[in-house]
Every structure is written in structure tokens, then in C-alpha cells.
């Protein structure tokens, strides 16, 4: 019978804890860079959050961006952004939010459509029109922030209930790290930050937490099993024992997201980017932040649960 390939040789013995300061430093530096970027560059908010008008148009032939830029630009609607989208016939026209409330947005849409029809001829296809007024965009920002905060809170409570408070601190630090790094990537690369990215962000939180919980579960189990083992060794052992699973699951998820990025169409690309980056960051933070932080949160040893025999701890090699 086929003997499957092992992604990772049996029980690796990587000394994660020994290098913790290097990775803490790296994480802090990366987080600071991301926060800095948020202040300096800010986020390239999409229409959901900034409000405004988005028209995706398909020209009968290859679209002449210059002509569209001048005709829509001459309408006096303020900042106009054009972007090739999908194939060469598709153009995304984005116009900033119009002054003067909800009515003004609607009038502007009508004028943009008129100008584009005049430009590109009768064969023009309006594939997508989105208008988000000032009220709604404000609410969507608020809703997004609330969802992220509540998600972190809910997961902390869950960890607190299922584990101990000390675990919760490590988990939440990792989550906050993931949020900053993911949002930071969108700031640094100035990618379109919209509602689907918020959905991705929440999923990244869930995913990162999922990884963290698997490691924590093992740490808790080992705490009962090896009562005498020093905590740094025990954390190393637990991370190593679960490493193969961590990489397998991250791997399959990354593959699925890669397929989505390559074949899922332009609308969903931002989501796929956020997910792929988030899975990497989330996996890293579970191993290098959530677990090592347990050294400093005053974890109580022993106490709960039966001891499963006196199994000799495998000596960490290397």
C-alpha cells in the first residue's frame, strides 16, 4: 500500500522558545511598521466605507482609458479613479462622494452613465453600479469595527471559559497582532479595503484562533502529563507535536485561497489576498506569539485533571 509522504519528519524538535525574543522583536517591529503606515498612508477605503459611486463598465472593444478619464473627469464630479478590471474591455470608474446628500449621488450616477454611453457607444454594458450614500458608509464603518471588536471579545471569553484566563491573554495578543498585520498590508500596498476584506479579517481571526486553540489544547494536555517538565520545554514540545497539523491545515487553506485568487474573478481578489496573508500571519502568531507569551502570564501548573501515567518526556534534541 502507498506509504504517504510526511510533510514533517516525526516529531520535530525546533527550539521555538529559545528564539522567542528574536520573534517578539520581529512582531513588534512589523506591528509598528503597520501602525505607522496606517497613520502615514492610511487605508485605501473602498466605496463601502468612503461612500461614493462605482461603475463597472464593459466597452464594446478595448476600452480607451484616456478618453473615459477626460469625459468623466470633465463632469466636474471631483476625483475620478479609473482601473482596468478583469479583461481589457472592462473598466472600473470610481467617483468620490458628491457633496449635497443622497440626491446628489443619484444625479451624478445618471451623468456618469450618460457620459460613458456617449464615449463608448451604444454597445456599452453597465455591469455593476454601486452608490453608497454618506449615512450608509458611516454605518458600515461602524458595523465593521463593532464586528471585529466583538469577535475578539467573544473569542477571549470562549478561551477563558474553556481554558484559563492566562491562555486568553496570549490568544488575544496574537489576534491583535494579526489584525494589525493584515490591515497593515492593505495600507502598505494601498489595496482596496472594502466589506469583503472585513469578512476576510474576521475569518483570519477565527482561523488564527483555531490554530492557537489546537496548540493550547496540547499544552494543557501536556501540563497534566508531564508535571515536572520546565514550562519552556513543555511549550516547545507541544508546538512541535502539533506542528505537522498546523502546517497541513494552513497548507490546504492556502491552496483553496490560491485557487480563489487565481480563478475567482476580480471582485473577490481582495478577499483572497487578505485570507492568504492572514493565514500565514495567523499561523505564525499562534506559534511565535500565543504560545511563548504563556511563559509570562503566570500559568498555574498541575492541579486539574488526572495524570496519565508517568510518561518520560522525550528529550528535546538539537
Amino acid at each position: 500500500m502507498y506509504k504517504p509522504i510526511r510533510l514533517i519528519p516525526q516529531r520535530p524538535s525546533i527550539r521555538f522558545i529559545a528564539k522567542r525574543w528574536l520573534f517578539f522583536g520581529l512582531s513588534v517591529a512589523a506591528t509598528l511598521v503597520c501602525i505607522g503606515s496606517l497613520f502615514v498612508l492610511g487605508l485605501n477605503f473602498g466605496i463601502d466605507f468612503r461612500g461614493g459611486i462605482l461603475v463597472e463598465v464593459r466597452a464594446p472593444g478595448p476600452a480607451d482609458l484616456g478618453a473615459i478619464r477626460s469625459s468623466v473627469g470633465n463632469l466636474g464630479l471631483g476625483e475620478v479613479a479609473l482601473q482596468g478590471f478583469g479583461d481589457e474591455r472592462d473598466v472600473l470608474v470610481r467617483v468620490q462622494r458628491q457633496k449635497g446628500g443622497e440626491e446628489a449621488q443619484q444625479q451624478a450616477v445618471a451623468r456618469i452613465k450618460e457620459a460613458l454611453t456617449a464615449d463608448l457607444g451604444a454597445g456599452v454594458e453597465f455591469r455593476r453600479v454601486e452608490v453608497v450614500g454618506p449615512q450608509v458608509s458611516g454605518e458600515l464603518i461602524q458595523g465593521g469595527i463593532i464586528a471585529v471588536v466583538v469577535a475578539i471579545g467573544a473569542m477571549m471569553i470562549y478561551i477563558w471559559l474553556r481554558f484559563e484566563f492566562q491562555f486568553g491573554i496570549g490568544a488575544v495578543l496574537a489576534l491583535v497582532h494579526d489584525v494589525f498585520l493584515t490591515v497593515g498590508l492593505f495600507s502598505i500596498l494601498q489595496l482596496d479595503f472594502n466589506l469583503t476584506v472585513v469578512a476576510a479579517l474576521l475569518t483570519v481571526l477565527g482561523f488564527s484562533m483555531n490554530d492557537t486553540v489546537v496548540i493550547f489544547d496540547r499544552i494543557r494536555e501536556n501540563l497534566r502529563k508531564y508535571k515536572q517538565m520546565p514550562l519552556p520545554d513543555l511549550i516547545d514540545l507541544s508546538v512541535n507535536e502539533t506542528l505537522s497539523r498546523t502546517i497541513m491545515t494552513s497548507g490546504t487553506t492556502l491552496l483553496a485561497m490560491l485557487a480563489l485568487y487565481l480563478f475567482g474573478g476580480a471582485v473577490i481578489q481582495g478577499f483572497a489576498i487578505a485570507m492568504m496573508w492572514g493565514v500565514l500571519v495567523g499561523t505564525y502568531s499562534s506559534v511565535y506569539i500565543a504560545a511563548p507569551v504563556l511563559l509570562y502570564t503566570g500559568l498555574r501548573r498541575g492541579g486539574t485533571g488526572p495524570t496519565e501515567g508517568a510518561v518520560a518526556p522525550p528529550a528535546p534534541a538539537g
Partner: protein
């Protein structure tokens, strides 16, 4: 862990079979479905507007306008009441959310209070020592009016949209004062937006011949009259002329029972018919005022101002004006559907053409299939025989996910497809956890059966813990999110639930069956 009583096996297989049956209509064409016997499930997954094409409009009902209108009306009522009671006052008007005035004689405070209290039970009347009176609508009345305005608006919106022949529109209240409209298959909602943009408040009134529009504009506007622009009389530059129109209506649009577009001397016009009470009032008014001009006012603009040549007693009439065929048709439609109690504004619009929707479905399906293929190959390479079992579970998971979406009639959106692709990637997690555990147990020297036994039982708590955290995120997105976030939350949550189910039941059943039949000496893992 590895023993399954018969009923459990039956239950697992039955669940799978049922899931298959419910999911099946999604891969069968509509035409074939209609030919099947009616007891077979024929429902398909509900596609969101971003996938099937259509328009999503979010309207805000300007409920404040209803309150403002009520306060304006109250000013007139108070004026009448005070005149009848012969109490002197100055400065009557609306300030903020109250009607205020000052009594000439503060001594009349008590009497004023009594007079005004009888006016409207919904009002709170306060008259101070200094003679300053303030009348406000009480909290309950304001809430009730707002609520009624939104409910009524929804009804009118529904009627207007039904009149246009749009198929399967969804019209529902959202939050306090919003109306969500989903119009499948409508990718250019300009006409509907136009129809919803008008309150269509129609009144038949008399012109006020006592002053000329010029005098009125100069400040000599009589009480009870107002200056309105006329779309029928244009000046030399094409701007609407102003007309002095009495505020009091002879008859209102709410008395209409029918309105139809028609032609008169080759011009498009709208014919209308009053109900019996309206017909009587209109008859009386036109009898009394024969020879005068009346104004037909729609939303604060005069559409036409004909001379009343003879009493109109039949309750039927014609509105002429500068109509095109389309605008006459639209006006008739609006009059039939009734007036909105308050103006509506469009606060959000998302329209997707059928082309983009079809492309999105195609891209989403392609991406999902490739995602599955990649995951399947990955699992085969790294877990071999057990990978096959995990892949069967993955397939079952996909079917159950589709079945659950169909059964719950949850809406599948493009972010929802992303959620499916993601769940397929993550769905193998439960099996990965189990298999890794089995490997560890074998490394500890256990026999195949006991290693598998231990693998399943020890991994279970971890599976539940780790999946629940993601499920928390998914449910939050479904509950708190809107639009894209919600659509994604639906498939993510359902996908996680089905993947946990298949991992702990279906794949375990396969492993157990295999163990019993093959009795392996070592595990190919």
C-alpha cells in the same frame, strides 16, 4: 469510538441520502425539474443579486417630514381655535419640534390650555407664566406616526413596483426607518428609482385671484395661500411661472379610485375618477367656483391650472399638462398606487448586470472546483489511504453544505462562494487533527485499532474547541454584518457545521468499517 450500532449507521446514511436528494436539484436544469414528480424536492439555492443580476436599493423614509407636516397643520388648527375663542397672540409658528406663540394677555393662559387640549389628544400643551405657549407632539404619538409612515410607505412602494410588472421583488423594512428593495433581473433601475422618488401627493385647489404672483412674491402673500411653480406655464426663458394657490385643497389624491393614461386631441393626458365622497366634494366646489381657475398640484408643483368652465359632478375628469406618453403613464401609475406619506431617499444602490452575475458564478464555481482538486491531491499525497477517506468526507461535506443552503433557503452571494471555497480548505482540518493524532499514537507503539480509537477520542475535544472559534466568527458575521459580510458568514457557518458533522460521523464510519473488514496489521498512514 469505533463501534456503531445499526441505528446510528442507518441515521448517518439516511442523512447523507437526504442531503443528496435536497442538493440534487441544484445541478439539474429548471426545465427538467418541472417535469419531475412534485413530491421530489425541487428547490434550488437562492442566488443573491450579485450572482443572478439585479438591483438592491436601500431607501430612507424621511419620517421627520411627517412630523413637520403635522406641526404645520397644527399651526392652522391653532389659529382657527384661537380665533374662535377670541384670544390674542403673536408670533405663531413652528420652532424646532414645537409650535409656539406668545399670548398678548398672560392671564389667558388657563383658557388657552383648555382650548388647545381639546384640539388633539396627541399634543402636550405648555403655557408659561409669561404667556409663552408651546405645543409639542408627545413621544408616543411621534413614535406611532413614524412607524405608521414607514409601514404605509412600504405598502405604497410595493404597489408602485407591482404596477411596473417587476417579477418577484422583495420589499422589507430594515431598521427604524429604512426600506430594503431587491429587484432580481432589473439591472437598470432608473425607472423604478424615478417612480420611488416622487411622493405623488396630488391636490385639487383653487387659485387665489386676490393678488398677482408679483405682489405675492413682494411679500403680500395672503394667509392661507402659497406661491407654487407651474410646469404648465413657462415664461419666455422656459422657467416655470409662479402661481398663487390656496393652501386648502378641494379634494386630495386619496379620494381617487382610478387613474389611466389616455389621449385628448392627440395629447397624452391622465383621466381620473373619484370615489363617491370625493366626487361630491369636487362637484360642490366646482359648482361654487365656476369661472375661476383651479390648480392641480403634484408634490408642490402645479401641473396644470385650468379654468372651471362648468360644474364637474360625475367624479370623472382629465388632467392635461405638458405630458409625454411616458410621464402620463407614470403619473397615472403613481396616482393609482397612492401617495407616499413621506419622501424617500435612496441611501444605497447596488446594481449588477446579468453578464457580471453569470461571470461571477462561473468564476466562483471554477475556483471552488480547483480548490477542491488541490486539496484532494494534497491530502492524497500526505495521507495516502486515509487521505482518500478524508476526500470522501470532503465531497460529502460539499453535498451537505449545498443541501443545507437549499433547505434553509439561505442566499448564496459571491462572498458566500468564497466562504465555500474557504470551508473546503478548512474542512479537512478535523480529519487532519485526527490523523496526526493517530500517527502520534502509533509512534507511541499502539496497535492500529487502539491508535485509531485514541486518535478519534483525543482529537474530538480539540476539533470542537478549534472549530467553535471560527464558528463564533462566522455567526458574528451573519448576525452583525450586512451585505458581503453576511453572505460570507452564512456559508462559513454552515460549512463548519457540516464539516464537523462529516468528520466525526461519516469518515469515522468509513474507518470503522474498513478496520472491521481488513483487520490491518499496520496502518498506512
Amino acid at each position: 469510538m469505533l463501534f456503531f450500532p445499526r441505528w446510528k449507521v442507518g441515521l448517518i446514511i439516511a442523512t447523507f441520502a437526504l442531503g443528496m436528494l435536497i442538493a440534487l436539484p441544484n445541478v439539474i436544469g429548471r426545465a427538467t425539474l418541472e417535469g419531475l414528480p412534485s413530491w421530489l424536492p425541487a428547490r434550488q439555492v437562492l442566488l443573491g443579486l450579485d450572482l443572478q443580476g439585479g438591483s438592491h436599493l436601500l431607501l430612507e423614509v424621511e419620517v421627520e417630514a411627517v412630523i413637520a407636516e403635522r406641526l404645520d397643520a397644527m399651526v392652522d388648527e391653532i389659529r382657527l381655535a384661537m380665533r374662535k375663542a377670541d384670544i390674542g397672540y403673536v408670533g405663531l409658528g413652528v420652532r424646532g419640534d414645537a409650535v409656539t406663540f406668545t399670548l398678548r394677555e398672560p392671564a389667558h393662559a388657563e383658557q388657552t390650555k383648555e382650548e388647545l387640549a381639546a384640539l388633539d389628544a396627541d399634543c402636550d400643551v405648555v403655557v408659561g407664566e409669561d404667556g409663552v405657549a408651546s405645543i409639542t407632539l408627545n413621544e408616543a404619538a411621534v413614535t406611532a406616526r413614524r412607524h405608521a409612515a414607514v409601514e404605509q410607505s412600504i405598502e405604497i412602494v410595493r404597489r408602485r413596483i407591482d404596477e411596473t410588472g417587476t417579477r418577484e421583488p422583495t420589499i422589507q423594512r430594515q431598521g427604524e426607518s429604512r426600506i430594503l428593495i431587491q429587484l432580481p433581473g432589473v439591472d437598470d433601475p432608473e425607472r423604478i428609482k424615478g417612480l420611488l422618488g416622487k411622493t405623488a401627493k396630488l391636490t385639487f385647489r383653487l387659485l387665489d385671484p386676490t393678488v398677482t404672483p408679483g405682489q405675492a412674491a413682494a411679500g403680500q402673500l395672503p394667509v392661507g395661500s402659497e406661491l407654487l411653480p407651474s410646469d404648465d406655464d413657462l415664461d419666455a426663458e422656459g422657467n416655470p411661472q409662479m402661481l398663487v394657490v390656496r393652501k386648502r385643497a378641494m379634494v386630495g389624491g386619496d379620494s381617487l379610485v382610478d387613474a389611466q393614461p389616455t389621449f385628448q386631441q392627440g395629447q397624452p393626458v391622465v383621466s381620473f375618477q373619484f370615489d363617491s365622497a370625493g366626487a361630491r366634494r369636487f362637484g360642490d366646489a366646482t359648482t361654487k367656483n365656476t369661472g375661476q381657475r383651479m390648480a392641480i398640484v403634484l408634490d408642490g408643483r402645479v401641473i396644470s391650472a385650468p379654468v372651471i368652465r362648468e360644474p364637474i359632478t360625475g367624479g370623472r375628469g382629465i388632467i392635461s399638462g405638458s405630458f409625454t406618453v411616458q410621464s402620463a403613464t407614470d403619473l397615472a401609475l403613481l396616482l393609482r398606487a397612492g401617495a407616499l406619506p413621506a419622501p424617500l431617499t435612496i441611501v444605497e444602490e447596488r446594481s449588477v448586470g446579468p453578464g457580471l452575475g453569470a461571470d461571477s458564478i462561473r468564476a466562483g464555481i471554477t475556483a471552488s472546483i480547483i480548490a477542491v482538486i488541490l486539496v484532494v491531491v494534497f491530502m492524497l499525497v500526505f495521507y495516502g489511504f486515509f487521505g482518500v477517506i478524508a476526500n470522501i468526507a470532503l465531497l460529502v461535506n460539499g453535498i451537505l453544505l449545498l443541501a443545507a443552503m437549499t433547505l434553509l433557503q439561505a442566499t448564496l452571494t459571491l462572498p458566500g462562494i468564497a466562504g465555500i471555497a474557504l470551508t473546503l480548505g478548512m474542512a479537512v482540518d478535523a480529519n487532519v487533527l485526527i490523523y496526526e493524532r493517530i500517527r502520534e499514537e502509533i509512534a507511541l507503539g499502539r496497535t492500529p485499532i487502539s491508535a485509531i480509537e485514541a486518535g478519534y477520542s483525543r482529537a474530538m475535544a480539540t476539533i470542537i474547541d478549534s472549530n467553535l472559534t471560527t464558528l463564533i466568527a462566522g455567526l458574528l458575521m451573519f448576525g452583525l454584518g450586512s451585505g458581503a459580510v453576511k453572505g460570507f458568514g452564512v456559508t462559513l457557518s454552515i460549512g463548519l457545521a457540516t464539516s464537523m458533522f462529516t468528520a466525526v460521523t461519516f469518515s469515522r464510519l468509513i474507518v470503522a468499517t474498513w478496520l472491521r473488514r481488513a483487520r490491518p496489521k499496520s496502518l498506512p498512514i
